[in-house]
């Protein structure tokens, strides 16, 4: 049973997220928040396949790269408007994800993790490959132009891009929440928890797994497109293996199998490296590692799980009689 407060909370949060930064944040901070939104969508995609379906992927940076390049190439070669590149990017990434989901049928657990990891390692080199160089711009990458607000809206480019990304992200988060709450979502989680039992219940595991991979790749690909528009530049070096690892870190820190988790994960991967850099120039990587370990130690179920626990405790202390049956949101 969901009460009115918990139903209204996400919407209140969303409106605050849209309005407050426009009033308070500088253009630079808006850019950072846009990147948080982008990473949140990318991690959400990863969460669908890894968190909800139990297929570990260490290669989602590759889908992010495909999305980014589709947008960059369309804007660069054909002067396509930025918004028109998103559906194309979504379709292509879903297709690529579906195809890469096929080997996932035969490979479980760690083997799948290694296979996708190999994909992440190969991505920068594939982007430099000479057959596609005319399209991808090779090592030099592609520089694209930042869009202005349409219809003469009174926003500057950064404000508009933030609102645009936030709108796209909201739609995608609603879609994902609906997906995992429904029949398919239950099938995804059943497959994750006990594949054999799920199959006995009549779930077509092969189809489910490949489709989950496709949807996941689509989400992360759209994030790549939004990221390319915000950064205004794509190059092979932007999509190194570290991107995939970073997304994975965001997933785990935010909270595996949680719809709100990716937002926390995105905040972490956007801001914690900057904090680490402030602490030490000599070894920012080590500082980052220590912060990461501390987070995992204190909040083993991620930030979302930690906050959920706090909320549950608070609710229980107010109304001890209410049974806790609410599904996560």
């Amino acid at each position: 049973m969901r009460n009115g407060v918990s139903r209204a909370a996400p919407w209140a949060f969303l409106i605050a997220a849209a309005v407050l930064p426009l009033l308070l944040a500088s253009d630079y901070q808006l850019f950072q928040l846009t990147m948080v939104v982008v990473y949140a969508v990318a991690i959400l995609g990863l969460n669908l396949v890894t968190g909800f379906n139990g297929q570990i992927s260490l290669g989602h940076g590759a889908f992010y790269a495909v999305g980014a390049y589709v947008t960059a190439i369309m804007m660069d070669k054909w002067d396509a408007p930025y918004w028109a590149t998103l559906p194309v990017s979504a379709a292509i990434c879903a297709g690529v994800g579906f195809l890469l989901g096929l080997p996932a049928l035969r490979l479980g657990g760690l083997y799948l993790a290694l296979t996708t990891f190999a994909l992440a390692v190969a991505t920068p080199q594939l982007l430099k490959y000479k057959l596609v160089e005319d399209w991808t711009g090779g090592v030099q990458g592609i520089v694209i132009t930042k869009p202005d607000a349409p219809f003469g809206l009174p926003f500057n480019a950064d404000q508009w891009l933030y609102l645009f990304s936030l709108t796209v992200a909201t739609v995608l988060f609603l879609l994902a929440a609906n997906l995992v709450r429904g029949r398919i979502g239950r099938a995804m989680m059943a497959t994750r928890d006990h594949a054999l039992a799920a199959e006995a219940m009549g779930i077509d595991i092969a189809l489910l797994k490949t489709r989950t991979f496709a949807v996941s790749a689509m989400f992360t690909g759209i994030a790549g497109s939004l990221g390319a528009i915000a950064i205004q530049f794509v190059a092979p070096d932007s999509f190194s293996v570290f991107l995939s690892i970073t997304l994975f870190v965001g997933l785990v820190v935010g909270g595996v199998a949680s719809i709100a988790g990716p937002v926390f994960g995105a905040l972490f991967i956007e801001f914690v490296p900057n904090i680490a850099d402030q602490v030490s120039k000599a070894a920012p990587g080590a500082v980052y590692g220590v912060i990461l370990i501390a987070f995992m130690f204190l909040m083993p179920s991620g930030l979302a799980g930690f906050l959920r626990g706090l909320l549950r405790k608070a609710v229980r202390s107010i109304r001890p009689a209410t049974p806790s049956r609410s599904t996560e949101g």
Binding site: Y28, K130, V139, V143, Q232, P273, D277, K281
Partner: protein, 402 residues
């Protein structure tokens, strides 16, 4: 001097109160401070470059202890980008919009600088002396706020070509290049300097992919073509293979090796020091491990600085020598600015360096810039591998064209 500082302080106070417009273009500069922005990978796969940032930080500390520039202290803000272009964009936007630096200095990495070049030129922020070997930072027409520093690959190739035409006018040249921007810059450089004779002198061009296993077949085809000069624009692994294969074939061309692959540890030792005898490369800075510079005044100045400000640093790391050289170039720009640290004047002075000598550059190499020359270092000296070290020979050669 004191009176001048006092006057400029009063001037600043008056300006801040009554004439904000007159100071509008001197972003990041107050009567007591100049803010400089910098990005470099302190973390991630390219974090070995981080020593350059540490060198810079130490240099500006020294400068501040010695009184700063025109009564102002340098506030050097150096941020980590992990060699990731998206992070560079974020950090540079922070430097420009939030920290409000006067200018950017020595930001590192070709893709990283490509990612920010358009933005900083739109914002008209001086983007000085980048740490990358690409040639495109000399494009003053399209990007008047961006200027490189070190000799580009293209300049280096021009220098080899000049030497060849001067000393071996009937050479038959073979070129091995990596099939990417790095390798292609060498082809362009050779074409610059050889001009119409390129087709006549170059008898064979062959490329390889970074993913290839060996360059054996290319080396064999070079020998078969009858070439007697080889120019190799290869990264260290392939450079070592080339040196060895050429030796094993019993082929004895005059072999020019890109200075990207002049490392003794990464190229010469794996190839075999005796097999590399006679290979020629080029240098522009003094090598800290080279005995020639043991008592060199310039290098002693650098060692003194290192001892005082970076006592624990590894003195054989050429990153610190690079840092000292490029910081000294900036120091000259700031000195030339006088008391006008507007962005326009900083850019004007950066593009008006005349015959500047830097203690860590090879003797005879001078830094020159002009509003139509955005390649500060265009001279190099050749060095030959004698079995033990790189031995400088001949005089300093200047690249062709602009």
């Amino acid at each position: 001097m004191h009176r001048r500082t006092l006057l400029s302080t009063i001037g600043a106070a008056v300006a801040a109160g009554t004439l904000p417009k007159a100071w509008a273009t001197t972003v990041g500069v107050t009567a007591t401070e100049i803010k400089i922005g910098h990005t470099i990978p302190y973390s991630g796969p390219a974090s070995a470059y981080g020593v350059i940032g540490q060198g810079h930080t130490a240099f500006f500390k020294m400068l501040n202890e010695n009184g700063g520039i025109a009564g102002r202290k340098i506030n050097f803000i150096s941020l980590d980008d992990g060699y990731l272009p998206p992070k560079t964009v974020e950090q540079v936007r922070r430097l420009v919009e939030q920290d409000q630096v006067a200018f950017l200095f020595n930001t590192l990495g070709t893709p990283n600088n490509t990612a920010i070049q358009k933005y900083v030129n739109q914002k008209k922020v001086p983007h000085l002396f980048l740490a990358t070997g690409a040639d495109k930072w000399g494009n003053y027409k399209e990007f008047p706020w961006t200027i490189g520093w070190q000799p580009s690959y293209r300049t280096e190739a021009q220098i080899y070509a000049k030497y060849i035409t001067l000393n071996h006018p009937n050479a038959k040249i073979a070129v091995l290049y990596q099939n990417d921007d790095f390798g292609k810059d060498y082809l362009i450089g050779l074409k610059d300097a050889l001009g119409a004779d390129y087709g006549k002198l170059v008898v064979k061009e062959a490329s390889y992919e970074v993913t290839d296993a060996t360059i054996d077949s290319q080396a064999v085809s070079f020998q078969a073509s009858g070439a007697d000069v080889l120019v190799t624009a290869a990264t260290p692994k392939f450079a070592a293979q080339t040196i060895r294969k050429v030796y094993d074939l019993g082929w004895k061309p005059l072999h020019f090796m890109t200075n990207v692959s002049a490392s003794v540890g990464a190229v010469i030792t794996p190839a075999g020091p005796e097999k590399a005898v006679g290979v020629i490369t080029s240098q522009y800075a003094k090598d800290p491990t080279e005995p020639t510079w043991k008592d060199d005044p310039g290098m002693n100045e650098w060692r003194g600085f290192m001892k005082k400000y970076l006592p624990d640093a590894d003195l054989s790391d050429s990153g610190y020598v690079f840092s000292y050289g490029v910081c000294n170039t900036l120091l000259q720009v700031l000195k030339q600015c006088g008391d006008d640290f507007s962005r326009e004047n900083i850019m004007k002075q950066a593009t008006n360096l005349k015959d500047l000598e830097i203690p860590t550059l090879l003797p005879g190499i001078k830094v020159n810039t002009s509003p139509t020359n955005y390649h500060p270092i265009r001279q190099m000296q050749l060095a030959k591998w004698n079995g033990k070290t790189w031995e400088l020979f001949g005089s300093v050669i200047e690249g062709a064209g602009t």
